[in-house]
């Protein structure tokens, strides 16, 4: 059986890729995609811990499902916002979208 540490390393790698995408990419859609990656990295952690440490409880699975639901709705809302912003300002570059400034 594959040891747990492999999963964790994989999840950490995935999280770092996602983090890099979220921080470094200029395109808002890409930022959202990075966030999705980070969320899924967490999911892998959750499921792996469940399977290896406490297979009797389904808490890990349940958490993962909730994170899926949140990630899906977050993606939906985020994309809708980006479309809306694009319609108004003809850009999806995150740096240009600074309306929240003081």
């Amino acid at each position: 059986m594959i040891p747990l540490s492999w999963y964790l390393v994989f999840a950490a790698a995935l999280f770092c890729i996602g983090l890099y995408g979220a921080l470094a990419r200029r395109n808002s859609v890409a930022i959202i995609m990075g966030i999705e990656l980070m969320l899924n990295a967490v999911n892998i952690n959750l499921v792996a811990f469940w399977r290896y440490l406490s297979p009797a409880f389904i808490a890990g699975q349940a958490f993962a499902i909730i994170v899926f639901a949140v990630a899906a709705s977050e993606a939906a809302v985020g994309l809708a916002l980006i479309i809306s912003i694009y319609r108004r300002r003809s850009t999806v570059v995150a740096e240009d979208i600074d309306m929240l400034r003081w």
């Binding site: 995150a94 740096e95 400034r101």
Partner: protein
Amino acid sequence: MQPEIMTWLTPLPPILSFFLIVLFARRSNRLSHTIAVGAMLISWGLAMAVFFQALAVEHLGEHPFTSSIAWLPTGMTTLHIGVLIDPLSALSLFFVAWTCLAIFVYSVGYHNFGHARDKEDVPGLPPKAGGIEPMYARFFAFISLFAFGMLTLVVSDNLLTLFIGWEIMGLCSYLLIGFWYAKESARKAMVKAFITTRVGDVFMLLGLAYLYTSTGTLSYRAILSEPVLERLAGTPSLIAGLSTAGMIGLLLFFGTVGKSAQWPLHVWLPDAMEGPTPVSAMIHAATMVSAGVYMILRFFPLITAGWHEGQALNPTMWVIAAVGAFTALFAATIALTQNDIKRVLAYSTISQLGYMVAAVGIGAFVAAAFHLVTHAFFKALLFLGSGSVIHGVEHGAHATHDHVDANDMMIMGGLRRKMPITFWTFVAGGLALSGFPLVTAGFWSKDEILGHAYQTGQAWVFGALVLAALLTAFYTARQITLTFLGEPRSKAADHASESVPTMTIPLIVLAVFAVGAGWLGIAEDFPVLGGLLPNWFHAFVGGTLLEEPLGTHFNAVPVLTSIAVALGGLLVGWLVYRKMTHGASDPLVKPLGPLYTIVQHKYYFDELYTFAVVRPAYWFAETFTYRWLDRGVIDGILHSVGRFTLRLGSFLRNAIDLPIINGSGDMVGEGVKRSGRGLRWIQTGRVQFYLVVGLLFAGIVLSYTLAVRP
């Protein structure tokens, strides 16, 4: 209805009328006089009902109508108000109701109701040319309030409500004397009347307080009961030689001196003639001045406590008799020299009140009450008559554009043909005043006082009163002769006309009483006439006292003297003045010489008071009260309090308010502002920047957690 309830109700319609007129009916002349006269009519009806029911009670003095309710709980005791109808108050109610009603009706005509308002007339001045009085409604409101005061005073069963009625009348007197307030003289007269009577009232209030502390009650029936009186008569007062009863009696008597215008406080009454004539009639002849006499009659048992008929007078009685007799004579002499028709009557009123007071002083209770009633009727009649005369002459003066003083008897004359009703009623009143024998009321009441004075052996009282009676007859004859007889001495008098029925009808009614009221009190043993009518008055009023006073026995000396002075005075007066011509000076000027001037100036009492009282009072007010006390002490205290507070305030501001409270308040604001400014750079609005910041923080927290809690 029970007589007690009716008695309670008797004073109420006029006060209701006062408020109705003041609040609602002020603009409508017709409505206001309808309310006032209507209310007085109701009061009159109730008064008559009470009076006749009181007549039907046997021994009313022992079983009067009484009713009282607790009014003011004060500390340990409760002040009661209540009504009491005993013979004295029943009788007073009778004459008050009649004279008030007559005067109310008379006022309607006197103030020219039915004429349009003259455009030239201004409020505060009498109408110039027969237009309606500009302040018609106000007049009726005031006399309604006045009637309330008098009726309250009469029906009250205690000294407290009596005093309330007394002071209400004082106020109304003030308001009505100054009714034509645009006249300087009226304003002065109103203040003079108010302050002069106040002098008496202060003493009266002292007496009231003294009485209350000595007996614990103000109710007549409680005070005037035998044990209380005996106790009061037995205890000496602060002043040697006077019992407590005597002292209280004396203090209360000072109230009478003020209210009934006795010497030395008589000065206000003649000046009170500045008011409209119905006011002079009502307040200063028939009712208010009677209140003073009514009160000492009420407290007759207190004044005479410890004294029995036939003994020497006690000190209080002596003072009362002396003041009364002196006033009677003194005022009568002044009346001789006055040319103003109303002033003659004013002095005559003072003189007649002196009669009553003297009668009380010598213990002639019934005689004083009798004279009180007859005097109220004939003096109201005379005043209303003089008002009618003035009105007629004013009318004549206006018609002929003759600018004369319509009050001056010297420009009148011959009015008997112009104003027959006024003439005959005035003659009836004048004869009653001078005591025309056998027919008029004044004769019987005056005779009773003289008889009593003679009988009690007070020769000086008797002498003074006889002399006063002679002078009374003389000035009455002078007045009637100058006013009505002979030929008119001016165009105004020549064109005078009779007054309207609302004025003449009250005159006729009062004339009937002025003549007839005396027949009820004819002494039983008077030759021929005595016994024809029972001496109802003596039996009825005498019953007020605990022990019925002795009747005066017929004695030829006082009766013959009285007849002689009345007829003699009238005859001499007529003889002296019947040849009076226009512009001639008074026939008395020559024989009397400088004495005449002194008397005409009222013995310079006004000047004396101005010099001795008014000026010092002004000086004191100016120098002491205003300059020193007000400006110096009180203002000084106030100013230093103000300055101290200002200093304290500025200290508190600089030491506490600014540094501590303001500082800490500002510090919160400033701090928030600064930290806001410091953190402002974080807020870039870029999502990724936020993410980096978040990551950094997460990193810090994470490394901290890992480092500190491995």
